[in-house]
Symmetry: C2
Subunit: 532 residues, 2 copies
């Protein structure tokens, strides 16, 4: 059966699916109506073609001059900026995310900026962490995996985490690995447009055309087979816990690295002093963070711990008032809506009560009322697994705790999360509580935050957008922040007794120019042999 659908990008060619197993179109979240062209659900032959093509250029890409890799990243970043109108229109239609504030004002420049930061890391060799031991005759650095990286983009960032434009993509390419991008099927048109820009940028930069493939959709079984193929070097996955764990299991068995961002409830602890000081403002901050982007963030404040007492009651009342007055949230897809319903059921069955609901909105599209649930600490501690079920959407659970000791006990009941937040008083009156609760929370989260909702994720070398299992598969790596995010897709290479002329550029005696290297125990940008 042949279905007329948009072509795939494989081996540098836009080509029709070899064996399409179906087709799908994007849907406008506000109405549920289909929009845009048909995209193919591709079969085994296309997946195999994409993998072979990517693998066939892995060595060539690994040997590419850093200058050329950086040029690609910058040309692509410029193309994204130049195409902003078209990209934002497509992404807005497919995701219903606010066009001026979120997509145009924030996410698109963040995406092109991230590509440029990756380019800078490549040009300056910084991500390679050169280490030289002249006495032992050993030199090491981080190098390409020399195998393709398979990237699954999530539904919630059509640009900044897109499989063909986001942090995983920029990281994998910066480490000079070919990419097989698997678009999220809820925004195929945006992904296609980005793939067209990436493809042209590859040509302009003179990189192998098969350095990047774009597939729009394939079924789970095919995804698992691909994840477990030893020709693959690594996987970058951002998405649901179930899907991510299945991919991780398949990859682990084959020795394929799997960097999966799986789930996170991002507990927020409101300390008593902070509540007394500015409870009303905190309720507003919380409400904004809970409902922004319809709550569809991996750093969504899913559980908020509020002390008992008058200040806590006032916070809850104010938060409930905000939620009750809120309009309906438009979600990305029927799948997100179904998943949200499931999560709500699990929470309610475990004893959470609805404290406030906003407007459910009209029946059209994928809408849900912002919802605030509540539970007491004892109930939470009796069933912490169910009550920390991630609900992807404008839903948070308030947990009332008797004091710092119980808050610390709650902190210890959390699985690994991307973030953990504590709001503390400016006058230092919360310092004892901070010490108790932050100590308990610290090993369970990747980023510990003071006085700020967790939703924002700055692209910074000091960022950790990662965390202990099950928030991700490895607590030592971040998915955001250059150059650290690049390290995920690199292999450590050591050279033992290899003459200077046969070493990679950044390990030569002569520093390529301003590259910080650890030479005989000291960080230096000097040439080897120069007196310090």
């Amino acid at each position: 059966m042949s279905i007329i659908a948009e072509p795939l990008l494989i081996a540098g060619q836009w080509q029709l699916a070899r064996e399409s197993l179906g087709a799908f179109r994007a849907r406008e979240p506000g109405t549920g109506d289909e929009i845009g062209p048909s995209f193919p659900v591709c079969g085994a032959a296309d997946v195999e073609a994409a993998l072979s093509a990517a693998a066939s250029v892995a060595d060539e890409l690994a040997a590419a001059a850093p200058e050329r890799i950086a040029a690609f990243l910058e040309i692509y970043a410029d193309a994204i900026d130049a195409d902003a109108d078209k990209l934002v229109a497509l992404a807005h239609a497919e995701t219903a995310l606010p066009a001026p504030t979120r997509l145009r004002g924030n996410e698109l420049p963040r995406t092109s900026g991230q590509l440029r930061q990756a380019a800078k890391a490549v040009r300056g060799y910084r991500w390679t962490q050169p280490v030289i031991d002249t006495g032992a005759g050993l030199r090491s650095h981080l190098a390409p995996l020399s195998k393709p990286v398979l990237i699954f983009g999530p539904n919630n960032f059509p640009f900044a985490f897109n499989a063909i434009a986001g942090s995983d993509f920029a990281s994998a390419i910066a480490a000079r690995n070919p990419v097989i991008a698997k678009a999220h099927p809820s925004h195929p048109g945006t992904s296609q447009r980005l793939a067209q820009l990436a493809h042209q940028a590859l040509i302009d930069a003179g990189l192998p055309a098969a350095a990047v493939q774009m597939l729009y959709h394939f079924d789970n079984a095919l995804g698992l087979a691909l994840a477990g193929d030893t020709r693959l070097g690594a996987i970058g996955f951002t998405g649901s816990r179930g899907g991510g764990l299945a991919l991780k299991a398949a990859a682990d068995r084959a020795g394929v690295l799997c960097y999966a961002e799986l789930s996170s409830v991002n507990p927020v602890f409101l300390l008593p002093g902070a509540l007394a000081e500015r409870g009303e403002a905190l309720a507003q901050e919380f409400f904004a963070s809970c409902t922004m982007g319809s709550g569809q963030f991996c750093t969504h404040p899913g559980v908020v711990i509020v002390p008992q007492g008058a200040a806590g009651d006032a916070f809850v009342a104010a938060a409930c008032a905000h939620i009750a007055a809120a309009g309906s949230s438009v979600l990305f897809s029927q799948g997100v809506l179904d998943h949200l319903h499931q999560g709500l059921s699990i929470l309610r069955e475990a004893g959470a009560r609805v404290l406030a609901e906003g407007d459910a909105g009209e029946a059209a599209g994928y809408r849900h009322a912002p919802t605030l649930l509540g539970v007491d600490a004892a109930t939470f501690l009796a069933n912490p697994r169910a009550l920390q079920t991630e609900v992807f959407g404008p839903v948070s659970l308030l947990v009332r705790a008797s004091g710092s000791e119980e808050m610390a006990q709650l902190a210890r009941a959390f699985e690994g999360s991307l973030t953990g937040t504590l709001y503390r008083a400016a006058d230092g009156s919360d310092d004892a509580a901070w010490s108790l609760i932050a100590t308990a929370l610290r090993p369970r989260v990747g980023r510990l935050i003071a006085n700020k909702m967790p939703t924002g994720v700055a692209v910074s070398p000091a960022m950790n957008h990662g965390g202990p299992f099950p928030s991700t598969g490895h607590p030592g790596f971040t998915a955001v922040g250059m150059p650290a995010a690049i390290h995920r897709f690199a292999a450590l290479h050591s050279y033992d007794g290899v003459p200077d002329a046969l070493l990679p550029r950044e390990l030569h005696d002569r520093n390529p120019g301003g590259v910080p290297r650890l030479v005989d125990g000291e960080w230096t940008t000097a040439d080897v042999g120069d007196s310090l």
Copy 2:
């Protein structure tokens, strides 16, 4: 059933096994005779006790002052040096490794030196890689996992890779994680003695007594259950591929990090110019590396690729003469001998012929003749999987190749290995061959070596004792070399908007003293806020 056997070290107490499932004694490899006391095969209750004890002090250890951790490592190192006579006598009796040259002259000082290097990394905060972004208000560093690390020591390094004294141990403790040491049952007496020294050093340094547990043996099912326990943070394993893959699978499912060193054939390519220049000397070098330590090294030169032609023939003849004249090798155990027989069978069934055999020795103990096998490149390429079976012992396979192109083809047929070696001519005549073959070999090995057999592993910050799957489970980490080896047992922690007073010491504005930190994109040892 109660069996009188040596006590286990659990929770800071030497205690008899709760439910011993049997007992075993060490055996003298040269005779097979049992020596020393009986050690318990422990059951589930002891494993649970060890895990609970270790987990219960994880937070306390994570909060310990670096000074105290460093003091422990140094006190322990001094104790090992002071106890050298006794330790070397025990290890020699249990392993038959040469006492003066290998154990006393090399491995023991390497072990205490490695502990001191770990102490230095701890004192200088170097392993924590502090990153500060003042603009974004973000600071990050590497921090303890705050969970126990389970370490399986191998049979072949009774000191330097011992579960309670080697690189994994030093690394896990340096990162301030508690350790559950699983001794290798072929040298329980050595492991016990080290555990006694470690225990006393813990007390002297004022660290929690349950920071280190020592178990001597447990069955595979119990090991897999422990590996898959979510209370565990990570595993350090050095041993056989089968055992390591089973542990890795159990750990992966539970989100426990598993750093496993699994298997490696360490291909050695002799380029034509080098052979012509110094073929006779290379045969001697190869022979020494192949038979040293009875060939029981993870960096053993398992496969040597030799060009066809007169110089290659001369090398093979000389290598065969060395092997034929060699005395029998004493192996660690019946298990190693059985495994060696299995490996030889697989190689011979796949077409390898015996080129030379040394003396098989008397029937007593665990002896085998050093053995050289040969195969042509076409046969190897037709069955690369079987012909790169790791044979742990004094056995190597010579592969004859027609020229550089075929050597490069062979290089591409190798799975991931710890090392890859090329011998090249001093006059540059091998440079074209180097380029071809090293390019093919590079992504398949952790350490690329010129003109040196792979057996030696220097403890250096530029070392990579690691490599692509299946030589290890993650190509980005090394098991040897401070401070890099410590990174395996660390979590990335980011602090967002957290006031200076509430940050860990090395992230304060004020540099703790000479710590290189990445501050706003520049490496510096200055305080934050100081003008550069």
